[in-house]
Amino acid sequence: MSTSETHAQVSYLEHQGKYKGILGWLTSTDHKRIALLYMYSMLVFFSVSAILGLLMTIEKAAPGQDIMTAQQYNGFFTIHGVIMIFIIVIPGLAAVFGNFALPIMIGARDVAFPKLNLFSWYLYIIGAILGVLSQFAGDGPPDTGWTFYVPYSAESSTNVIFALTAAFVLGFSSILTGLNFIVTIHRMRAPGMTFFKMPLFPWSLYATAWIQLLATPIIGITLLMVIAERVLHIGFFDPALGGDPVLFQHLFWIYSHPAVYIMILPAMGVVTEIFPTFSQKPVFGYGAIAISSLAIAFVGYFVWGHHMFTSGISYWSRWFFSFLTFIVAIPSAIKVFNWVSTMYGGSIDMKPPLLYAISFIFLFMIGGFTGLTLGSLATNIQLHDTSFVVAHFHYIIFGGMGFAFFAGIHYWYPKIYGRMYSNRWAYIGWGFLFTGFNLLYFPQFIIGIQGMPRRYFDYLPEFQWGHFLSLIGAIILLSGFIIMVSNLIYHRRKGAIAPANPWKGVTLEWQIPSPPPVENFDEIPTITRKPYFFGKD
């Protein structure tokens, strides 16, 4: 690694290695470039998947068949789920902002294994391509839902194997990223930066990485077992072959519940960076936030059964899973109280990142509290597998993780591109996104309580008002997304030149130029005090 002065001054965007242009990006092991590779791939997949979502909403705006057949609808919600879960939200914030900001925030020149990092992205792309192929190869798009419940997934004549393989490969990408981050955090912190002097976004990535590393292999082997079931008719899960369909549900959720925390923990980490910066005030309850990340990661392993309350599991296992589900709510509540207290008494600058972060709290609270009715045994019976669940997890995943992503991109944008976006258009985009989001998903809570099941192509006429409002919301939401993305893309080259530290942040990424030089630091800083120190000495 060269440390010559001139070399270190070139920004990572302009740096030229062995190859020029696009090849220079595709072969770069620079964590910042890999972060952008992830982000651009996600933008493409998210747009496709969001349009599928819009089409489904149009289909449901009126009962009966409108613009697609039932089989197409079933295929749409399957690939919408597979893309959104495995390609967008699971890698999501960790792969984009984790890659971009983690090494800088802990004072490192890159992640521990830069080549492995690039390899993870290639695995991700291979997985994503397999997902796309599943739509075109074989006997039609898979129609099992992203949950792949057996026996249906063992019997469906559609192209389920491609989708399973896609998720399997994407899992490996996730495992390797987790491993990379754990080693990076353990081995590459700047001198003097103890764990409790580390900023909280790296803390949340640390908790996330352990879940990725420990939980993802379970889904990997489970998906392989379904493939074996389809190809070799082994009889793990299909009762027609002597298997146990509920065993599949256990294995699936042992990963897929912790996966929810893979999505939400980095989101919590991002907003935890934003509140102190825009309040010019230290994080309130640093220790409590750091420990609650670990607590969520740990307890989150033991609540998977709440996805199976109606599957016929025993009385006492329902009791315990419900009990632990309520316990896991506590660390999230602690975080909310600490974020709000961080703003209290600060000098608050309502810039777009903070606006998004505050919206995150609002939407996350709605998602969280509605989650409690799903964790409660009696109410779960009414709500399980209804559109209430759909609304709940969109509030958590899109309202939570999605809005945190929007907060993060508006926060680090000047650092990433060295340019400023238009605040005015950012606010307008937010207005559309926030209004559209609530209009799209809130009605689904109400018709869900009344008994509107999820994954329904057609429905009883009394639920139409809710679906129709959702369609209006979806259109507004998508317009907001287009406004936001256009603002960001346009100003990437045309925006005003960003200073090194536009928000007066105190974490390390704001102490280096925008955009950062290839190796981040000329000289690795020595850390002497706790993060989020805004005072003057």
Partner: protein
């Protein structure tokens, strides 16, 4: 929320009201507080930010209070749920059969209906049976739902107190016509229910009489057919009530096959063997079968006369 129509609805609705009230309180309260903070401490007011970093008393308070609240929520959820698993002993039984993509309801004795009819104010136990993939039996108005999984003996119960007709929906995705997998449950006064059940034709498989099940399980029909075909022993078909020539201690004699003959043939098969069949192939079954079982088998065999 719309009104519940079963004994279980109250417990569910109470938990809903409790959790949603607390949720609304916190969501509105915290949001209002955030808005107030953002206005009160706006940078435009020019006040420098305070630099406190935490408060352990507050941390403890906002761990303990939410803990108490969620435990209360858990409790309401639990007591609303607990009765759902305690089926009264006198509950009427119906088997709900899920198949892609329709429901049918088996009332026993071959009586199968496409809609469910239940008497009002009577506990009804619904055994859930799937013939193919996972389904889920959901009656929103009753606040009951349980998955219908092949190979699993899942069940639910309710006692519907309001006469009327309610939707039954499938809530576990089951393929192409998942959303069309609907039926309804009609709650009627008990007298009306009995009349309906009586008039329901028996179109389904009528379960085997107990005596026949015993004959099959004991292995009798391996040698004695039910359809008149001759195997190792005489067929049961048309056997009862006829006169047969039997061999007893080497001497032939005529016997009328009556209840007593059937009984003794089970207990001492080699005593009077029908002419033309071999002695010593059948073992005495006195030690294998109980008195009651023999009675059931004999009663069944008596129904097989021509």
């Amino acid at each position: 929320m719309f009104e519940g129509a079963s004994n279980l609805a109250d417990g569910v609705d109470r938990a809903f009201v409790f959790i949603f009230s607390i949720a609304a309180f916190f969501i509105i309260g915290i949001t209002a507080f955030m808005i107030w903070v953002v206005i009160r401490y706006n940078r435009k007011k020019g006040k420098p930010a305070m630099q406190f970093t935490g408060n352990n008393t507050l941390e403890v308070i906002w761990i303990v209070i939410p803990l108490i609240i969620v435990m209360a929520m858990f409790y309401f959820g639990w007591i609303g749920f607990a009765p759902m698993r305690k089926v009264p002993a006198d509950a009427m039984k119906v088997t709900a059969i899920g198949r892609m993509w329709e429901w049918s309801f088996d009332y026993g004795n071959g009586k199968i209906s496409k809609i469910m009819v239940v008497p009002a104010d009577k506990p009804v136990r619904v055994d859930l049976h799937s013939v193919d993939v996972n389904h889920s039996f959901f009656v929103p108005a009753f606040r009951v739902k349980e998955d219908v999984i092949p190979g699993y003996d899942n069940f639910l119960w309710f006692s519907a107190f309001r006469v009327g007709e309610y939707d039954i929906l499938c809530t576990e995705y089951c393929g192409l016509m998942h959303s069309a997998m609907m039926s309804s449950v009609k709650v009627v006064p008990e007298a009306e229910f009995i009349a309906w059940l009586d008039s329901l034709p028996a179109t389904g498989d009528i379960p085997d009489p107990e005596g026949l099940t015993l004959l099959k399980n004991t292995g009798c029909i391996a040698c004695h057919t039910l359809d008149g075909i001759r195997l190792v022993g005489p067929s049961f078909k048309g056997f009862y009530g006829k006169t047969h020539t039997v061999v007893e201690k080497g001497a032939e004699k005529e016997v009328v096959v009556n209840e007593e003959y059937l009984r003794s043939s089970i207990l001492e098969p080699n005593k009077q063997v029908v002419k033309g069949f071999n002695k010593g192939l059948m073992q005495p079954y006195g030690n294998v079968l109980s008195e009651d079982q023999i009675k059931l088998m004999v009663e069944y065999l008596m129904t097989l006369k021509d």
